[in-house]
């Protein structure tokens, strides 16, 4: 089923999403990948405030290539989500609404998704050129010294993704593969 959703996400809307839905995201999302997650965890460990509120927000696991003049961003596809698994349950408990990435998640992350009624989307890996066309603006809001790994606030319009793990813990990676397995 095709759906449009707005970011930050509304928890009632998130509950309606089912694994396998093809969605288009519009609104504001934030980028963070390995180094930014490590730094966010260190910030929390010190009892300090994160650079943006997690409440209902969407994190996109992505580090772009540099923007050419006159463009908001360079190539901008998802990176492998499992590298962030160690940090993710904490962020979900603090209100993170959704994540966009690619690839499998740990059981601890799936459990935290269900517990907090969040959702995990997959964007198409290796489609950074086409996905960059859905990003209207990009602004670094924290950790600028990390270069491509800095936290960026992105305005996106009709950004395509697939619901892989829904708020009930259904996992498209598990079910879809079985459907086409012929061995």
């Amino acid at each position: 089923m095709e759906r449009h959703i707005h970011a930050p996400v509304d928890q009632e809307k998130v509950r309606q999403l089912k694994a396998g839905d093809y969605i288009y995201i519009s609104g504001i999302i934030y980028t963070a990948r390995d180094a930014a997650h490590k730094r966010m965890q260190e910030t929390l460990d010190k009892g300090e405030e994160l650079p943006f509120s997690l409440k209902g927000n969407v994190i996109y696991y992505m580090g772009p290539s540099p923007a050419r003049e006159g463009r908001p961003i360079g190539s901008a596809g998802p990176t492998t989500a499992s590298r962030m698994d160690r940090y993710t349950p904490t962020l979900l408990d603090l209100g993170l609404g959704a994540m966009i990435g690619k690839g499998k998640r740990s059981q601890a992350v799936i459990d935290a998704i269900v517990k907090n009624k969040a959702v995990y989307f997959a964007a198409i890996g290796g489609a950074g050129a086409i996905l960059s066309k859905c990003i209207i603006s990009s602004e670094i809001i924290a950790y600028e010294d990390l270069g491509t790994e800095a936290i960026r606030r992105l305005e996106v319009k009709n950004f395509p993704a697939v619901v892989v793990i829904d708020s009930e813990g259904n996992n498209l990676y598990e079910t879809a593969v079985l459907q086409y397995n012929k061995n």
Partner: protein
């Protein structure tokens, strides 16, 4: 003795880094088109069409195909009658990477130390493999390697008794575990034989082989075909979201090995299998 200047090497490396990240080689484009026809899943077909469109946008609008523009892997076949003039060959390669990644608006993804992890901000150093060969030419292959798929690569130190069935199971295990993480449809490079490091290097080198070119060894040619079919029956599909096109090709290299061993390396590459070749 033929003289090649380091400036020529730097210029070539620079151009090759840029070119590789904006357009795939023709053999890759051809397998993509065939894949769209073969895919049975509607969502899989949709993703493959988007990946084709992604390639067109990358080429026309000068946006890298993927934001992970890789760590630059460089294979250098140096003719033994070549004299390099103007400084160190490694410095010339790294200067080419530095210039290419800056001028090409490519992402700088290299950290100076695996534990301290400070970005070098110019994507250097490259990983350079040298081979001394006959002749007076310098043959260069540049293969920017993304790490989504690199992380899913494996080395298996099998026993001789495991035989070819063990090799098949090793390749399938690596692909099955890689699943959606490696950005399928993938290209699978395998190295069989040699030593621990030799099989890994062969697996990497196999990824740079033209997909239309077949292995000169008949049983390996059959093995490549069989593994491609078996992998595509795993059901992983484009994006790992289910389907019948999980791999675009399987390329295998072999080398003599020790009486006690059967090393197998599987180097997985995503569908953005970048490799570009030039002879100076």
């Amino acid at each position: 003795m033929r003289t090649i200047t380091t400036q020529e090497v730097t210029k070539s490396i620079k151009e090759m880094c840029i070119e590789a990240n904006y357009a795939l080689s023709q053999d890759m484009e051809a397998v993509f088109q065939a894949a769209v026809q073969k895919e049975e899943s509607p969502l899989g077909k949709k993703i493959l069409n988007q990946l084709e469109e992604n390639l067109n946008i990358a080429r026309q609008d000068k946006i890298p195909i993927c934001q992970d523009t890789g760590m630059a892997v460089v294979f250098m076949e140096v003719g033994q009658e070549v004299h390099i003039e103007g400084g160190s060959l490694a410095d010339a390669v790294n200067q080419g990477v530095r210039e290419g990644y800056a001028e090409g608006y490519l992402r700088k993804s290299v950290v100076s130390d695996p534990i301290d992890r400070i970005n070098t901000k110019d994507n250097t150093p490259a990983v350079i493999h040298y081979e001394i060969v006959n002749g007076d030419k310098l043959s260069i292959t540049v293969a920017p390697k993304g790490f989504g798929s690199e992380n899913m690569s494996r080395v298996f130190m099998l026993k001789p008794a495991d035989g070819i069935e063990g090799v098949k199971e090793a390749i399938l295990t690596a692909v099955r575990e890689a699943g959606p993480n490696a950005c399928p449809p993938m290209v699978v490079g395998a190295g069989i034989g040699g030593t621990f490091e030799k099989c890994a290097l062969m697996a990497k080198h196999a990824l740079t082989r033209d997909l239309k070119a077949q292995s000169p060894i008949p049983y390996i040619r059959d093995l490549e075909q069989e593994m491609l079919e078996k992998i595509n029956r795993l059901g992983i599909g484009p994006g790992g979201l289910g389907g019948t096109v999980t791999a675009l090709a399987v390329n295998i290299e072999t080398y003599p090995t020790h009486i006690a061993g059967l090393p197998v390396a599987v180097n997985i590459c995503c569908h953005v299998n970048r490799h570009i070749h030039r002879v100076i």
